[in-house]
């Protein structure tokens, strides 16, 4: 395929978008050069489509078509709506960092309370000095587009040995309809630190918007980290998120993602276990209905020996929705004694629901224990009848079994109020079922 073919009319629309947004994108001259380069990468590739292996099941040209114009910075009315949304979606006791339409909202955030426990800057601030955070070697068009267009984000620095007393919750709120928000954040967790980071994506009355987020995480040796992402965007939104995670030695990292919103979404996580003796638990839940398309793609790279990775993924798919799970485990030649396992299960609630599951093991070491398993099926009629015979109406019986189905992935969230928050989002999804 030559360059001319990849550059479709839809790619052209983005080009106009970049030109029109360029004056509003923060950063020095050096930053602008980096953005331009990233954008050129994007323009050369165009939106990913099914002939690109990594995007085989999530053809953005077919599903999304075009990238919407950059959202305007939120005005007072938008911030008022966002403030209401914060009240609804904030986790009790968490330190909030709020991004509204891709712009950090200091008035809605707990910057002062956070100051004693973590270093904080906005992406906008860091770009005044340095383009480093936008630099990427990725050849993924969505990531390149993010680098080109990112307006803001949070840059968190959790010191060595810090024991955070409360979770940090990054809340992305969309208020602008038919517009795009591009955010890029960095979370650096020091050696021996203990932290819980939650990311929430929600709408405040907004419709048909697009989110393109990137998060760069680095976890220092001996740290104990819970990283939870809760994507509950509007039912007609698009959310494309990329995570780049580097894990040090003897780390315990528990990652959890739950998708309960967006017409089209993809979380692509690239996790590198770069220090020995670390344990990664990466769990995910997709709850999809109507015609939603939700893609979770995880690449776990065992670069060193003696690490453990566990992935538990659950998809509940109703109506004509489509869930995708792609899980790749790479074991580098030196990464002996790697223990990597991946288990995915899909629950199909309708005859037209679709699940695609692509496990890939790339093993270059000879003394490892790796495996994967996958199942797909419907709710068990005998269990449903038992519950109904005990007085539960059909929908309530289904809800109880669905909650049990996803429970195994959720139960790793140790904090009670956090787990209740997650279960609450799942319950609201169940109530939305027709």
């Amino acid at each position: 395929m030559n360059v001319a073919v990849a550059k479709t009319g839809k790619g052209r629309a983005v080009s106009d978008l970049f030109t029109s947004a360029e004056g509003r994108l923060p950063g020095s001259t050096a930053v602008t050069a980096v953005r331009r380069e990233a954008f050129e990468t994007y323009e050369r590739l165009g939106l990913p489509h099914r002939r690109i292996e990594e995007w085989k099941y999530t053809d953005l040209r077919a599903l999304v078509g075009e990238v919407l114009p950059l959202a305007a910075a939120p005005d007072a009315a938008a911030l008022k709506r966002a403030a209401d949304a914060v009240k609804t979606h904030a986790i009790a006791g968490a330190r909030k960092l709020v991004l509204v339409d891709g712009v950090f909202a200091a008035d809605l955030s707990d910057v002062k309370a956070l100051a004693s426990e973590a270093g904080f800057k906005t992406l906008r601030e860091t770009l005044e000095k340095d383009a480093g955070l936008l630099k990427t070697t990725s050849t993924d068009a969505v990531i390149a587009l993010n680098a080109a267009m990112a307006t803001d984000g949070v840059v968190l620095d959790i010191a060595d040995g810090a024991q955070l007393s409360a979770p940090i919750q990054i809340i992305h709120i969309a208020t602008a309809a038919a517009a795009s928000a591009f955010t890029r954040s960095q979370v650096t967790i020091g050696k021996g630190a203990h932290a819980t980071i939650v990311e929430s994506f929600v709408a405040a009355g907004s419709k048909a918007y697009q989110v393109n987020d990137a998060v760069i995480v680095s976890v220092g040796d001996d740290a104990d980290v819970a990283h939870i992402r809760l994507m509950d965007d509007a039912p007609d939104a698009v959310n494309l998120t990329s995570h780049f995670v580097t894990v040090g030695a003897n780390v315990k990292l528990k990652f959890f993602n739950m998708t309960t919103g967006a017409a089209v979404s993809r979380l692509q996580g690239f996790i590198t276990l770069a220090g020995e003796g670390s344990e990664l638990f990466a769990n995910g839940v997709n709850l999809l209905q109507k015609t939603e398309h939700g893609d979770t793609t995880l690449v776990v790279d065992h670069a060193v020996p003696n690490c453990v990775s566990r992935e538990i993924f659950r998809a509940v798919i109703d109506d004509r929705a489509h869930s995708v799970f792609q899980g790749r485990i790479i074991v580098r030649p030196d990464a002996q004694k790697t223990d990597g396992k991946m288990m995915t299960r899909a629950l199909l609630l309708s005859d037209e629901a679709e699940a695609d599951n692509k496990p890939e093991l790339e093993i270059f070491a000879d003394d490892v224990s790796c495996g994967h398993g996958a199942t797909a099926g419907a709710l068990d009629d005998s269990l449903l009848f038992y519950l109904k015979a005990r007085g539960l109406p059909e929908k309530q019986a289904q809800a109880l079994l669905i909650q049990a189905f996803v429970g195994e992935a959720i139960e790793q969230i140790a904090d009670d109020s956090l787990r209740e928050h997650v279960i609450g989002i799942a319950e609201r999804w169940l109530e939305r079922r027709s």
Binding site: A389, R390, L392, F405
Partner: protein, 250 residues
């Protein structure tokens, strides 16, 4: 007063008729035993009364407290007071027994327009009943029936019976898979629930269970019909002579 009236019931499963015109009346306060060989339709009757899918009623009717039971969904039947103790209670991983019990009890109460139980009242009630059934508290924290022994599963069914306070209990082969001690505990639990307002239908293959739960009326089923009814002595007679005589009669 008649609690359950099954009139000339004909039931098919996948084009095959299993019940060929079964008639049975159970009054309030009575305990009826239904005995019969394998394949006589005992379990089919219990499933049709509870509303299990897959059974086609081609003729006849089932009235419960004078209302047409066949018009109701399984959950509506439960809320009206029909309880089926399963021969093989299912395991439901991930649904804690306590959560299940509370959800089911409150669903039934809601359907009847009653207020939901408060947490302390509910816990008090569960503790009382589970103690009398020798059910340890940690069992209630586990998934419904997950890892339970045969005896524990049956005791869990009796626990639900005690909690939900149904007016009709159908016990489908409660003795299957139980040793004598487990059977005695479960039967004691059932006997404690006998009351002038509650009826029970005990379905069993063997007379043994009826030594523990003594029936008022015994019915013999064969080939999809009740072929003989009598007092509790009929069960002993069956134990001595077997079912063969009735198979000919049917």
């Amino acid at each position: 007063m008649a609690l359950l009236e099954v009139k000339d019931l004909k039931v098919r499963v996948e084009e095959r008729e299993i019940l060929h015109g079964l008639t049975l009346t159970v009054n309030e306060g009575e305990v009826h035993a239904i005995m019969g060989p394998n394949g006589s339709g005992k379990s089919t009757l219990s499933h049709v009364i509870a509303g299990k899918p897959g059974y086609e009623v081609t003729d006849g009717q089932i009235l419960f407290k004078g209302e047409d039971l066949l018009e109701m969904s399984p959950d509506e039947r439960a809320a009206k007071g029909v309880f089926l103790a399963f021969q093989y209670p299912v395991e439901i991983p991930g649904v804690a027994t306590m959560n299940f019990l509370r959800t089911a009890l409150n669903a039934q109460r809601k359907a009847r327009g009653e207020s939901e139980y408060s947490t302390p009242d509910f816990l008090k009630k569960v503790r009382e009943v589970s103690k009398s059934l020798n059910i340890p508290q940690d069992m209630l924290k586990r998934g419904v029936n997950v890892g339970f022994s045969g005896g524990e599963k049956k005791r869990n069914e009796v626990l639900q019976m005690a909690l939900f306070e149904p007016s009709l209990c159908i016990l489908d082969e409660m003795d299957s898979g139980l040793d004598i001690d487990a059977l005695r505990i479960a039967a004691d639990g059932v006997n404690a629930l006998r009351s002038p307002k509650r009826a029970m239908v005990v379905i069993t293959h063997y007379q043994r269970l009826l030594n523990y739960i003594v029936p008022d009326v015994v019915h013999v089923m064969s080939k999809g019909r009740v072929v003989k009814s009598g007092g509790k002595e009929l069960a002993l007679e069956l134990e001595a002579s077997g079912y063969a005589q009735f198979e000919d009669a049917a």
